[in-house]
């Protein structure tokens, strides 16, 4: 007994070096998530399809006058993106909770918040980025002025990661709940209000020829804050979910 190795929690260097760095863990998680997205690549088109359908319905409902469409296009596209994000948000952690992968996350020698942040990044790249890529097409459908398009895209590049981070907290909270589709929408609405206001504000200002940098800066500031805080809240919510 006496000759047995050192007590392992006593930060013996051999064990410390055996732990993979946080960067390697993030890469492993990213690889896994991209692989999963690739296996179910058919599902990736669903939000795109949804966005195109909704964008195509607006001219039928409001009439095809180009001026009217141009005036509402920015706001409409923003709301479409928010709505198209919702269904995917719901399942962000659901499979990982159900198949026990989250238990493995919890016991890994990595900060849970960092894993959550990586998961959100992978989620954003696979489900939201395609929506932003097709924005020029959707903008053309709704007669969005071409000089507003870059502002819309920048606003979305700031607003959607923010929404994905907030949505991740809610998704973690509802991961262990029975039915969560409408519930997630109900919970996301209050959190989405400021994001939508500032993103739409930037677009409207650009359209009116006014300076649009201020609302974009606010969004950027909020995004920085959310990158720090949301993963912590998300980790706390995941720990509650795993208790079941």
């Amino acid at each position: 007994m006496i000759t047995v190795a050192q007590p392992f929690a006593d930060s013996s260097p051999a064990i410390m070096t055996a732990r993979p760095g946080a960067w390697r863990a993030c890469l492993a998680l990213l690889r896994r998530d991209f692989l999963l997205a690739w296996r179910r690549r058919g599902e990736l088109f669903l939000p795109l399809l949804y966005a195109v359908i909704v964008a195509a319905l607006f001219p039928f409902a409001l009439g095809p006058e180009p001026q009217l469409l141009a005036r509402i296009a920015g706001g409409v596209l923003l709301v479409i993106v928010v709505l198209a994000m919702l269904p995917a948000l719901e399942s962000m952690f659901r499979t990982d909770l159900e198949d026990g992968t989250l238990e493995q996350w919890l016991l890994a020698p990595q900060p849970l918040a960092l894993l959550a942040l990586t998961r959100v990044a992978a989620h954003w790249i696979t489900t939201v980025l395609p929506l932003i890529v097709v924005m020029p097409l959707l903008g053309a459908l709704l007669n969005l002025p071409w000089d507003v398009l870059p502002v819309l895209i920048v606003a979305l590049l700031l607003a959607t990661p923010l929404l994905a981070l907030l949505g991740a907290v809610l998704s973690a909270l509802t991961a262990g709940a029975r039915r969560s589709g409408i519930l997630l929408a109900l919970m996301l609405l209050p959190l989405a209000v400021p994001v939508v206001i500032f993103a739409a504000g930037a677009i409207a200002a650009a359209q009116a020829g006014l300076p649009y940098l201020a609302p974009l800066s606010w969004l950027a500031a909020a995004l920085v804050l959310a990158v720090v805080l949301a993963p912590l809240a998300c980790a706390a919510a995941l720990r509650i979910a795993v208790e079941a």
Binding site: L173, A177, S180, L186, P190, P194, I197
Partner: protein
């Protein structure tokens, strides 16, 4: 365990049977005080206070509307504090209190929205305007609904309570952001700016009934939360020795008012 960080009296009051007895003794008095102060406040507001020189008698809805609006925020703060205690120290009583705050708060928020809308029609000519205060109140209503919905969507009540408490805490960060973003939004749109209290301070003859009403709603809230928490404790703790004891001794000899 970490619970030992709590002060001793909190620990003692945190035990469900003690709280049950304490709340049962306090509740009738609080409820009676709430009814009396509400009667005084309403009499002062609806009868004694003079009509407003601009709004006539229509302004009298503030004696309901304004205390409700204060309560909607106050109860949210109570819920968030109880939720924080529930999350950090895992005190069962705090979980129950936080979750019982939500329906009362949602009711006050709904009253605020409805009375505000009724008041808005004669005053501003519209039922609804996207002013910062109104929008924040609406968002607050959705936050309450989210907390209630999340709590009921999770089968394990304690886990549901902690998840919903975390949501309440996220919401409390969100609320001021919503308020100021809507203020910013309104200036961008040059929308209608609504001043609830006008330029001048409120007349003393109108102020005292308002404050009395505010006191009445607070008393009502405390009476209501004690009653609701007692009922919820009986359900959460059903099967426990002390609950069986109460059921066996029914009807309670020491209890004056029905709860």
């Amino acid at each position: 365990m970490s619970r030992s960080y709590l002060p001793h009296w909190m620990h003692r009051l945190g035990s469900p049977p003690t709280f049950y007895r304490f709340a049962g003794a306090l509740r009738p008095w609080l409820m009676a005080a709430a009814l009396i102060t509400a009667a005084i406040g309403l009499y002062g507001g609806l009868v004694l206070a003079p009509p407003d020189y601009q709004q006539g008698d229509a302004y009298r809805i503030i004696f309901i509307h304004v205390p409700s609006a204060w309560m909607s925020l106050f109860i949210y703060a109570c819920m968030a504090v109880a939720g924080l205690v529930a999350l950090v120290w895992r005190v069962k009583l705090a979980e129950v209190i936080a979750m019982e705050c939500a329906p009362i708060g949602a009711a006050f928020t709904l009253i605020t929205l409805v009375t505000g809308s009724l008041w808005g029609k004669p005053m501003w000519g519209t039922w609804w305007t996207w002013d910062a205060r109104l929008t924040s109140e609406l968002v607050l209503f959705f936050l309450y609904l989210g907390v209630i919905g999340l709590y009921h969507a999770i089968d394990d009540r304690r886990r549901g309570a902690r998840a919903a408490s975390l949501l309440a805490l996220v919401g409390i960060v969100n609320l001021p952001i919503v308020h100021y973003s809507v203020v910013w939004w309104n200036t961008l749109h040059q929308g209608s700016t609504v001043n609830l209290f006008g330029k001048s301070s409120i007349a003393p003859s109108m102020l005292w009934p308002l404050l009395v009403m505010a006191l009445a709603t607070h008393l009502y809230f405390f009476a209501s939360i004690l009653g609701r928490t007692r009922t919820a404790l009986l359900s959460v703790e059903s099967g426990k020795q002390w609950v069986r004891g109460i059921v066996d001794r029914q009807p309670l000899p020491r209890q004056g008012a029905p709860t």
